[in-house]
């Protein structure tokens, strides 16, 4: 909206035109408008509704769902600070205070002159370099409170007015030393980072029949690296066998599980391997179009990825008759998420790709049967595609030479928290937590969160357990917590994450995650009794059992895991009374007292 309160119809028409006015590209259209105007206000939605000829409620439904869509104008610089257990242990609170002092904006607010907006955000994918922030989409890792004043001054001087929220680089603040992120690839392994040779996988695949490709992937016992561990060969076969005019290949680059950043490492250091994998999948499935669903937090990877795609088009590795094979036509586009963890769940991801809010679908039908736009779709994790390319390049037998009986190959792990050497490690399946902790130099780990908040909390007595599908299964997030960390406070932070990220579709998760959070808070505030702990456990089990999708089903894990492994932490906080009210009546009536100007009648206190 310009200062006179007019709707910027040119921007809206341009965005609609760029995507052919297609309803299913609504996310791209909204992203485009948001990039230009910096927010999606009510007037914008109404004008867009008129232009697309769909009800404004439908657009509102999508726009209001995603946390990266601002609904009101923000400052010229929108600073999002990661607020996670790991960022907090590295001093995110101090960095936040420094930003408040230097910008004059409160958290959740905008500074008076309109230069800066400050917000907390969920994990930004830089857990090995916390505290971190995104400023207008550019990554700022490893912040110290002492850096903040200079950064803010330099930003203030930047007068790029071409864009409501100027993106880095391109503005004169791109010289700021931190506006890029290094990748701590501390443990390159034999499969994904073993040799620099690449492209051979695709060349080989071109000589194989689609069925032969699927057979090789099945033989390699490749399983999904995104968390669920579904056999990739079987997924591709199901998708291939579904009767349809066309099929889609989707790369899940949402990497939303707090504590993971290994997909970012792959997309940065070995994008060719990932794109090879997608193209091989396309050949196997008979797909003509692929999409990379990239989380909004990684928008800064876009330029390099686009370059990579262009290069492949020039080299005949994307486009028509790939590698000279008649009728093998395939191309890939990038589509962005907008800050919703649930969009990593494959069916929610597909909804988002189709321009809707990211609510999971009922299954069946499974995406392999009816996925993107109703066509059979293989949704696979970034790392899975990279592995598939290696399997074809080096053969299934070579691949099975790494790992365990049920878990072939290696796993990329993102390690963060209380350890001197956090970063990305590629390790063969079967590695024990003990070996892992030695590698990263963590000598006093009290517990390790394997698989992010939705995974498992593992205590010291279980450090002999192995990273493998048959033991500790993980998408790759490993967070280390030392002896000084509070297990219950950490469980509360994870529970808050789920309450924030619940899509709201089903009651057990929408209401349950908030109740779990409140019950845990009661215990932390020293008002919890034995009955409260029992009720909390029973509620946690109900939420796990009755929620509709993986988010709600795993949301109680931090609570159940910490109860199982650290009962003494709970016992230490329990009060001996049979019952304690959740709140103090005195505090709860203080506001009314000041409004109605008289005192408490007759309630006795505890």
């Amino acid at each position: 909206m310009d200062p006179e309160g007019q709707v910027d119809t040119t921007t809206i028409e341009d965005a609609v035109g760029k995507f052919g006015g297609a309803r299913d590209r609504l996310m791209d259209i909204l992203q485009e408008i948001h990039r230009r105007l910096g927010c999606l206000e009510q007037q914008t939605i109404s004008a867009l509704s008129a232009s697309l000829r769909i009800p404004s409620a439908e657009i509102e439904d999508a726009a209001s769902f995603y946390s990266f869509f601002n609904r009101a104008p923000k400052g010229r610089f929108h600073i999002r600070l990661a607020r996670t257990p790991v960022s907090l242990m590295k001093g995110a609170d101090d960095v936040a205070r420094a930003f408040v002092a230097a910008t004059g904006a409160q958290i959740g607010g905008t500074s008076a002159e309109g230069d800066f907006s400050l917000d907390w955000a969920a994990d930004l994918g830089m857990a090995d370099q916390e505290p971190s922030a995104l400023i207008n989409g550019a990554p700022f890792p490893a912040l110290a409170p002492s850096d903040v004043r200079t950064m803010v001054e330099e930003l203030r001087r930047n007068r790029d007015t071409t864009n409501a929220l100027p993106l880095f680089p391109g503005s004169d603040a791109s010289g700021l030393k931190q506006s890029r992120i290094a990748i701590n690839l501390l443990g390159p392994g034999p499969v994904l980072f073993g040799d620099k040779r690449s492209g051979d996988g695709l060349q080989k695949a071109l000589r194989l029949s689609p069925e032969e490709i699927v057979k090789e992937i099945v033989k390699a016992r490749l399983r999904g690296r995104g968390g669920a561990g579904f056999p990739t060969g079987l997924k591709w076969r199901l998708c291939r066998q579904a009767v349809a005019e066309t099929r889609y290949v989707v790369c899940n680059a949402d990497e939303g599980e707090p504590g993971t950043f290994k997909d970012r490492a792959l997309l940065t250091l070995a994008p060719d391997l990932v794109l090879d994998g997608m193209t091989i999948a396309a050949r196997a499935l008979g797909a003509r179009q692929g999409v990379i669903y990239l989380r909004a937090e990684y928008a800064y990877l876009e330029a390099a990825l686009r370059n990579e795609l262009d290069k492949r088009r020039n080299d005949g590795l994307l486009g028509a008759n790939i590698g000279g094979v008649n009728d093998f036509d395939f191309d890939i586009r990038i589509q962005f998420g907008a800050g919703a963890y649930i969009c990593g769940e494959e069916s929610a991801l597909l909804e988002s790709l189709e321009g809707k809010r990211g609510a999971p679908r009922d299954r069946p039908p499974f995406p392999t049967d009816r996925g993107y736009l109703g066509y059979p779709t293989a949704v696979d994790n970034v790392e899975t595609f990279a592995c598939a390319a290696k399997v074809i390049e080096r053969g299934a037998a070579w691949f099975c030479g790494f790992g365990t009986a049920e878990s072939a190959g290696t796993k990329l792990l993102s390690i963060s928290g209380d350890c001197p050497r956090p970063g990305v490690y590629e390790l063969p399946f079967g590695t024990t937590l003990n070996e892992l902790l030695d590698l990263v130099g963590a000598s006093d780990a009290r517990f390790v969160q394997v698989g992010g908040p939705s995974g498992q909390c593992v205590g010291a007595k279980d450090y002999g357990r192995r990273i493998a599908y048959e033991d500790l299964s993980t998408g790759g997030s490993i967070m280390v917590f030392s002896a000084q960390r509070d297990v219950i406070a950490t469980a509360l932070q994870f529970t808050e994450f789920f309450a924030d990220e619940s899509c709201g579709w089903c009651v057990p998760c929408r209401v349950g995650t908030t109740l779990l959070k409140q019950d845990l808070e009661k215990i932390l505030r020293g008002r919890g009794t034995l009955a409260d702990v029992r009720a909390l456990e029973s509620l946690a089990r109900s939420v796990a059992r009755t929620s509709r999708c993986g988010l709600g089903q795993s949301a109680p894990n931090p609570i159940l895991g910490s109860m199982r492994n650290f009962p003494e932490a709970y016992e230490a906080r329990l009060q001996e009374e049979e019952f304690l009210p959740r709140f103090s009546v005195l505090e709860a009536s203080a506001e009314a007292k000041s409004i109605q100007e008289h005192g408490l009648l007759d309630v006795e206190e505890r």
Partner: protein, 180 residues
């Protein structure tokens, strides 16, 4: 042997749960054969003066007087039951939890479209003080049983009471817990 005593109260509720209790129709006669009705809006008895066996609570706590009444019920009733959505979750009155108390009172008494002239927020000292939010009963006192529904059907209330009075665990059948 003396009959068991039953008490009821309506806190931040609409009396719908009490209406539903009356909906057990001719079984009311049977109920009065089984229990003595003690403190209740139906008897208009003001204070507890002897121990009571079963207390039925309708409504959550919206003000300090609700809290007081609920605590009296807990003190005097052996078994305390949250009856209906309002007692169990806060229900309809808890819709104000989304809005600040001040904003809510100002809309009702000062700025709302039905206010004529200059309104004021009532401040008579005999009025109970509102709490910052509406709380479900079990966040204020220990509750022994929960009887869900808005309101629970007369049939469900009857089934529940009969079970308690005959010393059985009140396990409601699925059809009495299913609302659509």
């Amino acid at each position: 042997m003396a009959k068991p005593r039953l008490a009821t109260c309506s806190l931040a509720g609409c009396f719908g749960c009490h209406m539903s209790l009356l909906d057990i129709d001719e079984r009311l006669v049977e109920l009065l054969d089984l229990v003595d009705l003690d403190k209740s809006p139906l008897t208009d008895k003001k204070e507890f003066d002897r121990p009571v066996d079963i207390g039925l609570v309708e409504g959550g706590c919206a003000n300090d007087h609700n809290v007081h009444t609920l605590r009296q019920f807990r003190k005097n009733c052996r078994i305390l039951v949250s009856v209906g959505a309002c007692a169990i979750t806060g229900g309809v009155p808890a819709m104000r939890n989304m809005i600040g108390l001040k904003e809510c009172l100002e809309e009702a008494y000062i700025t709302g479209p039905t206010i004529e002239g200059k309104g004021m927020i009532p401040n008579d000292e005999d009025l109970p003080l509102l709490l910052d939010r509406v709380y479900p009963s079990h966040e204020v006192v220990k509750i022994d049983y929960f009887l869900p529904g808005c309101p629970p059907s007369g049939e469900a209330i009857w089934f529940f009471l009969k079970a308690l009075l005959t010393g059985r665990e009140p396990d409601l059948p699925y059809r009495m817990l299913k609302y659509d």
